[in-house]
């Protein structure tokens, strides 16, 4: 049922799984007025060396005294001098994360969940479809793929946001558009005077770009509404449900399949996900994804 086999993360497997490790914020990048990327490292240098994760996995981040929230690790396992995650200011914990400065200490436990199936993606043309902060989990995989370019074929990236000011990871977008092995398409729902790129919602632009489904896989992440409209377009382009991957988001507390709330039918997004193929989602008994 699941994309990759899940085993408890050996690393950080201490007596008490709920205890966070202390990590230090090393750099903060303000992506948009309400999204920022935080770079962090373990306070314990030994842990920093031992830590390993796969693209697509997530962690539980604590702001002590405020609470804990899950975010995917948005940096690539191939670039290990630090770790990154991106947060949109939406609630109690994310607001607190937006108040932090460089040098602040937060709690981290993880990595949790499954990851993108690299074996399955190997040797294929990859189509990344992202919207808004949904680029964060894709970004981990994109850099992973670029750093192992010989294992994969063509890369298409279609990324959109509401306005030019809402585009995240502009430095990555620049670097990918300069990369000859990548076909980078950026779009916004509404442009402004200085906007020279495409205008239109992501599913529409995807239809225009029309990447071939032959020996390809599409990896989709964005707001639920975008995901819902993207799958039909991909189907039209000839992608089978197995060829479409996405990562889901649910309210989570424990991150390890115990607290109950992130289920879709008998699937727990934190434990069995967050990466699913559209084929799997379709077979869920529940329409609650």
């Amino acid at each position: 049922m699941t994309t990759t086999n899940i085993s408890p993360s050996k690393f950080l497997a201490q007596d008490n799984v709920y205890l966070p490790h202390i990590v230090v914020i090393e750099k903060i990048i303000e992506e948009t007025p309400n999204i920022r990327t935080l770079h962090f490292n373990f306070k314990d240098k030994k842990l920093q060396k031992e830590f390993s994760f796969e693209s697509g996995q997530f962690g539980e981040y604590s702001v002590f005294g405020i609470g804990e929230a899950p975010f995917c690790i948005s940096s690539s396992p191939t670039r290990r001098d630090h770790l990154e995650f991106a947060v949109q200011r939406v609630g109690r914990v994310t607001n607190a994360l937006h108040r932090l400065g460089v040098g602040a200490e937060i709690g981290f436990r993880g990595p949790y969940g499954n990851s993108f199936p690299l074996d399955y993606l190997g040797g294929k043309n990859l189509v990344f479809v992202g919207g808004g902060i949904g680029l964060a989990p894709l970004r981990s995989l994109i850099w992973n793929v670029i750093d192992n370019k010989d294992k994969y074929k063509n890369i298409d990236i279609i990324y959109g946001a509401r306005t030019p000011a809402d585009l995240c990871f502009k430095y990555d977008l620049d670097s990918w558009s300069k990369n000859k092995t990548v076909n980078m398409v950026t779009t916004v729902d509404r442009g402004d005077e200085s906007w020279t790129g495409k205008t239109g919602v992501v599913p529409k632009i995807l239809e225009e770009v029309a990447p071939s489904a032959k020996n390809a896989a599409a990896i989709v992440c964005g707001p639920p509404i975008m995901i819902r409209f993207t799958f039909p377009v991909l189907t039209k382009l000839g992608f089978t449900p197995e060829q479409m991957l996405t990562t889901l988001e649910k309210r989570m507390k424990c991150g390890i399949g115990k607290c109950g709330r992130c289920n879709i039918g008998n699937i727990f997004v934190c434990r069995d996900g967050p990466v699913f193929s559209y084929a799997q989602i379709k077979s869920f008994v529940s329409s609650e994804y």
Partner: protein, 342 residues
């Protein structure tokens, strides 16, 4: 090997022997409702019906401290709460004991939950058979007898002035070996116990049909009309979940005072809209979806994952519900033919 027996008036003496090693909990009506309370050395009430607050609370408290953190100059020190010690639960019902065995699966799955499991491992359960099952009880439909249990360490059966004691586990055997003041059960005692068990079993009249329940639930999962209809009178309170012996969902929250803080976990309920609420959307904002989740989790999703129905037929949810929302009526009236279409 012959079973032991004990006179009802000697229970306090027996508990006294055990209280040296264990924190002893017994059913009590001290606070106006029947609960499992710390034994005060007095005689034990044995005529209680069901406990409103379930023995689950001894293992998964309604609220517990996970750890404390203190800001020490620039860094945080994390400190675990002290170990609570060994518990002895006297008077647990077979349904509630089974419930613990059921939720063990969740806390053992993939990652070990240290708080719950350490309490479970060190605790001793002493079951007392239920000779007056209530009108709301339906344990027999779920393969549970009101007077027999494999999920306790010792099982007591009421045989008039005395209890017959059956040793169920090795832990139980050790307890008995150390105890004094017990008698040997005679053949007559055994016969009497058998009669009591049969009578009690037949007193459970409420039934549900669990045959093919998972498939039947999945088949009507998308029948919105059905779920809306049965959810109409539900008021979305947390009684049936928070007081369910097999409900384990929890919430985690922090609290900060000056430089010290605490992370708590507390029971949560799928009946509350905030349970699944995310900033942008809520997959179960509507009441019928939450009711559906509750029913399907207990009788569908949990069995799919752990091969056991997450219900023991204790009937608390029926009896305590302010609007008399009855799970047995729902399960016995699942629509048979449904067109599954999205």
């Amino acid at each position: 090997m012959a079973n032991k027996k004990i006179s009802k008036k000697d229970i306090a003496k027996l508990l006294n022997q055990w209280s040296r090693e264990f924190a002893v909990f017994v059913p009590s009506k001290e606070s106006g409702i029947a609960t499992m309370a710390r034994w005060d050395g007095k005689d034990v009430t044995l005529d209680w019906y069901r406990n409103t607050v379930i023995p689950k609370a001894n293992f998964l408290p309604a609220m517990e401290e996970m750890f404390r953190f203190q800001k020490d100059k620039e860094s945080y020190n994390i400190e675990l709460p002290p170990d609570g010690g060994k518990q002895l639960i006297f008077g647990i019902r077979p349904c509630d004991a089974r419930a613990l065995a059921i939720i063990d699966a969740n806390f053992k799955n993939l990652y070990q939950d240290p708080y719950y499991l350490s309490r479970r491992d060190s605790a001793v359960l002493i079951g007392v058979g239920c000779i007056n099952p209530s009108e709301s009880c339906f344990c027999t439909s779920l393969g549970i007898s009101p007077t027999e249990s494999k999920d306790v360490d010792l099982m007591l059966t009421d045989i008039g002035d005395q209890f017959l004691i059956e040793e169920v586990t090795d832990k139980g055997k050790k307890l008995i070996a150390k105890a004094s003041g017990l008698g040997e059960a005679t053949k007559e005692d055994e016969t009497r116990a058998k009669e009591m068990k049969e009578t009690s079993y037949n007193k459970v009249t409420r039934k549900i049909n669990t045959e093919g329940i998972v498939e039947r639930l999945i088949a009507c999962f998308d029948d919105q009309d059905f779920w809306e209809k049965i959810a109409a009178k539900c008021i979305s309170c947390g009684i049936c979940t928070l007081l369910c012996p097999t409900c384990y969902c929890f919430d985690i929250n922090d609290e900060l005072t000056k430089q010290q803080g605490t992370r708590f976990r507390s029971l949560d309920s799928c009946a509350f809209p905030v349970y699944t609420k995310m900033p942008m959307e809520n997959p179960r904002a509507e009441k019928w979806k939450r009711v559906r989740q509750k029913v399907c989790h207990k009788y569908g999703f949990f069995p799919m994952s752990f091969n056991a129905i997450a219900c023991t037929g204790c009937g608390r949810c029926i009896r305590l519900c302010p609007v008399n929302w009855d799970i047995t009526q729902v399960l016995n009236n699942l629509p048979v033919k449904t067109e599954v279409g999205k």
